[in-house]
Structures are given as structure tokens and as C-alpha cells.
Symmetry: C2
Subunit: 346 residues, 2 copies
């Protein structure tokens, strides 16, 4: 039994193929009775429109391409990020009858732009989602733009770009985390910054400063360490911070990996977390729940962001409206076991 086509449905329902097309595409101008007959025929024949034929005739592929930095180079749980984005994007795509193509990319590579162009030209997706940290690489945004394909950026932290983007309130929630630590009684709260190429990072530092100010705490330059997002750099920064004459009683790292590095160093130095030192991270990667003690951190609404990005994209394809502006989704603090009031001695 070969697949039913629109002609089969039309024949069975006793209408023209155009009417079937109208029903399938939810177009107006079909009498209810007719619509029902057609729907019955569709169900009876288990009719599924042939996507290739639709694409050929309508010049719409019903494909969305999710482009992100290839994680296979790094040994970090960043794969969790990607899975969550994929999840959100996938759901939004399915709901709208679209399929999702994934396209990991190494933006450092020479031919990254050519690679992306080729991908888009071959696949011809109706829209592209450019995920962080790639979304901050202007050259790539320009590359997508050059193909004329609508696209959306996902970037934690508000972004200043003329295209539409989905982001999160990174600065605000970082301030909130800082205030939370202060509310526990901490007075010397350190911050470990990450690689500035990841834009969200600078927002988090700003948020940290905001939080200090909100809590009436002074900003102290020596309490800011510099990392590069990897776990080792968190260790190095933590060692320096903890060797200070007046060491911090709480360390807030710009991501979970670096926070895990802090925990590791504390462990080595015999400093108990959270009793003697509170540690907070950011991103809520799987690692955060797996290390001991489980990490207090900030949960990025990655799946929702990807979903929102896809929805906006598809909406703009439907309405043929230009996308612009920004959609900001709130991140949330997840309090776990790595934070507590400072020791009374401090």
C-alpha cells in the first residue's frame, strides 16, 4: 500500500485537490460540511502531505536550523546546554509543523563562515537560530544575514543588535544572587569572572556589583578573580582569593564549572563548603547537582529561550514581518547545599 496523495483524498471526499489543500493548510473559504468530509477522508487514508512537494511548490522548507558552537572540542558539561536548547527548539518546531536541523560549528575555524553559508544554501531553512556564544560573533550573524534567511539570536544577557534576540535577565539575577549571599550574612563576597568573549559574563560582573551596592557592601577590586570559564581557571582564581589576607567567605563564580573548581580547591585546602565557605555558580549544568555539595546556582531558561526563538521566527515567517527587539526570559536562583551563613569567626 503506497502513500495516499492529495488526489486520493480529493477523490474520496468528492472535492477538488484545491479544497483538500485549503483544509490541510487551514485556509478559510471552505464550508464546514465540506471541511468535515475532507477531514474524514484524510483520516481514513491516513494522508500525510508530502513535504517535498509542498516545499517545491511553496518555496518554504518548513525547516529551522539551530546553529551552535560545537561542544565536542571541550571537556565540559556544556553539552547539557545544547541538549536543553535542542529540546526547546524541537518542541516549538513540532508544534508548528516544522522540523529542526542541528548545525554545530567551530567558529574559530577558518572556514566557519563558508561552512555556514554552504549549510544554509544547501538546506534552505526558513529560519536560523544562532545560539550563544556564537550569537555574539558578529561575523556569523552577518553571514546568516547575507543569505537572506530570517534569524534570531539566543544570548544570555541583553544584547545590542539590530536583529531580534531572545535573552535572559542575567545582570538582574546575578545581582539577586549577590544579595542572597549578603542576606546570609556574608560581607566579603568574591566574584570569579569568565571569558569576556562570552558576553553574558560581563553582565554577570555588573550584576555582582549591583548586588553589592544594593546590599550596602563596598566593591573591592581584589575580590574579583579572572577565569576563562573552564574548571581549572576556577581553581587558580580560588587559590588566589583564598590566599588573601582577608579571604572572602563566599565566592560567586560566573559559571558552574569554575564554581566546581572552587569547591575542589576548598576540598584540597581542608576548607569546608558551605560551613566555612559558600560557593555559588551560574548555569545549572548537570554537574551542579552531581558534585558534593550540590551547587547553589542560577538556572538559565535555555529550553524556553530556544522555544521562544523558534516561535518568533516562525511567527515572522508567517506574517512576513521583520523581527526586531528583544524577548527577555527570567533566570532563577536554585539554592542547594553549597551556600550557608558565614562562620561566626569571620
Amino acid at each position: 500500500m503506497t502513500k495516499a496523495t492529495i488526489d486520493d483524498v480529493a477523490a474520496l471526499a468528492g472535492v477538488s485537490i484545491k479544497t483538500v489543500s485549503r483544509v490541510v493548510n487551514q485556509e478559510p473559504n471552505v464550508r464546514d460540511a465540506t471541511r468535515e468530509r475532507v477531514e474524514k477522508a484524510i483520516a481514513e487514508l491516513n494522508y500525510q502531505p508530502n513535504q517535498a512537494a509542498r516545499t517545491l511548490a511553496s518555496h518554504q522548507s518548513r525547516l529551522i536550523s539551530l546553529v551552535y558552537e560545537d561542544p565536542t572540542l571541550y571537556v565540559t558539561p556544556s553539552s547539557g546546554f545544547i541538549i536543553r536548547m535542542q529540546e526547546g527548539a524541537l518542541q516549538a518546531c513540532h508544534k508548528a509543523g516544522y522540523a529542526l536541523l542541528i548545525h554545530p560549528l567551530r567558529h574559530q575555524e577558518k572556514n566557519a563562515r563558508k561552512n555556514l553559508t554552504r549549510h544554509i544554501e544547501i538546506v534552505r531553512p526558513d529560519g536560523v537560530v544562532l545560539a550563544a556564544p556564537l550569537s555574539n560573533v558578529e561575523a556569523l550573524a552577518k553571514t546568516v544575514e547575507a543569505t537572506g534567511t530570517p534569524f534570531v539570536r539566543i544570548s544570555p544577557g541583553t544584547s545590542r543588535c539590530k536583529q531580534f534576540s531572545v535573552s535572559t535577565n542575567d545582570r538582574e539575577v546575578s545581582a539577586e544572587m549577590t544579595r542572597y549571599l549578603a542576606s546570609l550574612g556574608h560581607r566579603r563576597i568574591a566574584f570569579i569572572a569568565g571569558d569576556p568573549s562570552h558576553k553574558a559574563v560581563s553582565h554577570r560582573l555588573l550584576g555582582y556589583k549591583d548586588g553589592l551596592a544594593d546590599s550596602g557592601l563596598p566593591f573591592d577590586e581584589e575580590l574579583v578573580g579572572q577565569g576563562n570559564n573552564l574548571i581549572d581557571s576556577g581553581e587558580v582564581a580560588a587559590e588566589k582569593l583564598l590566599a588573601l589576607p582577608r579571604p572572602p567567605t563566599a565566592i560567586f563564580a560566573a559559571n558552574d564549572d569554575m564554581a566546581a573548581g572552587v569547591v575542589r580547591v576548598a576540598d584540597r585546602l581542608g576548607i569546608k563548603v558551605p560551613d566555612q565557605l559558600s560557593v555559588a555558580g551560574c548555569d545549572d549544568v548537570a554537574l551542579a547537582q552531581l558534585i558534593y555539595p550540590a551547587l547553589t546556582t542560577i538556572n538559565q531558561p535555555l529550553a524556553s529561550m530556544a522555544g521562544a526563538a523558534v516561535e518568533s521566527l516562525i511567527e515572522s515567517i508567517r506574517t512576513k514581518d521583520e523581527l526586531s527587539g528583544e524577548d527577555i526570559l527570567p533566570a532563577e536562583i536554585r539554592v542547594r547545599d553549597s551556600t550557608a551563613p558565614p562562620p561566626p569567626t569571620a
Copy 2:
């Protein structure tokens, strides 16, 4: 400037579109000189065949669907598995001019089978890759089979199914790990088994027994703990094992998460790893390198397996041959810092 079509290329090269088609599809019966002219025209016009038109005419979607258990339910670094599989599958697809669709699935859900059928009927991929642990769910294999779509299973550990599958030498390499621990001088080597629903697990236990036998060590029932693949279960099992009158000096866990649990417990009990206790895991997830000490483990060639699966699938589509048998790719031991000779006192 609109996209070039096959007609444009044919006109520029001064041949018929059929000849262009022959060149693009690498068919025979084209004179070298003609072929060159056509290739030049293709390059000049930056011609990319319209995939929708090809699909419509040839009934081949050039799409492969990668189906795997949805990881977003679990808090485990299993996302790394999936990323690695995606990577291998993606590469193989691109090399062959195919695109990859991802389809995470919750096999426990009532409508899992219907969902899968729908996906295949709508998307019409030329082939499906069913990844572990889904590949062991017969109902899903049957579901794919019912659609008539060629498919391949990826399953760590040899599998007994009539369809083709790609697997790894799980049992052998587990034996090797056991022999390695024995070669360090360990005489009491414990094993923490995982959830038996994950088929690879039983193979690993068998391999452990093989390794003991190979090393002239007796099998001792009390040295086998039972876990469920999650980190907590590793802790529970480790606590029991370490409370034994004659505790093991080495613990080999059937996956990295449970091994991480063992390390955690040792840490709590003040037992130094690896000086007082050697710990080995399996899978080489990101966590393995991130915890302290870095975990000695077994690296699953996940990317290669997925790549091999896709290659076989595409090959069989080309040749229209039935797939059968098994392709076994070797896993490898990664010695890191969690294993060492036993303490002399033991």
C-alpha cells in the same frame, strides 16, 4: 539574484539538463570534456541542487533520523553521550550529502510508538538510527520496521537482533579493565552493576567475571554491588562494599556516575583515592575528567559508532541491499588518576 537551477547550468554549459543531472549525481556516460564544462558552469553559477525537487522526483529524502531516549528527564551527564552520537552521525551524513534530524523520545510514555510512527511518516527519512538504550526496546524496533524504513541499532554490547547493529566490545574491555586492576596488584576487586534494562550492563558484569578468571582471582558474590546507573546508587553500593569485613581495594563501577558516587563516599569516609582505594568507571563522560581525582574509565567510541551506523545505512540505501549482522567497534581504557596499586597493608 535568484538561485540558479539546473536549466541555468544546462544553458551555460550548452548541454541538456539530463547531462547536468548526470554530473551532479556522479552517474557514468558523460564524456570527460562535457563533465568539465558542466562542472565549470556549476561553479560559476554557485549551483546547488534543490533538495525538495530531488526528493519529489526520486522519492529519496536524503534525511536520516537519529532517535534516542530523551535525556532532559534525567540529571545525569548523559547529554554528553547524545552530543557525541550526534557528532558522529552528523559527520557521516554530511559526507554523504544527507541531513540529520534528531528525534528524542520518551520510551516509557504511552504514545511513544505512535509518536515515532508519526515522525517517520511525516518526515519520511531514508533511514533511522535507533540509539541505545532505546535500541533494546523491541517494541520500538518493530515500530520502525513497520514503516518499512531501513534502520540500524546502536547498542553498546553485542546484541542479538536480526537487524543490523553497531556495537562495541563491552564485555572484552570490561575484562581488560579488571585485568588492569589485577595487574596493579589488587586482589579484592569489587564491581557495581547497573540497571539491567541497559543491556550493556550485563555484558560488563560478565566481562568483570572474565577478567577475574583471566587473572586467577576468585569470583566473590559479596563483592558485587547493585546500582541503578545513578550517582546515588553508586554511593549506596560503595558504602556497603567498604563496610565489608574484608573491603575491596578497588571498585569498578558499570558507569561513571556510579563511580563518581564511590569517590564521593570515599571522600566522606576519609579514604584516599587512589592511594587507599582504586576506582574505575565506564563510559568516559565529561564528569570523569572533571571530578577529583580524574576517573580511570572506559571510553565508548560513541561518535564512531553513530558514524558507522549512518554509513551502513546510507550504503544499504544506495545498494538496496538488506542490512544484517553486526559491526563491532573497540572501546578503550583511559587510565587517569583514580587507580593505583593497593596500599601495602592490604
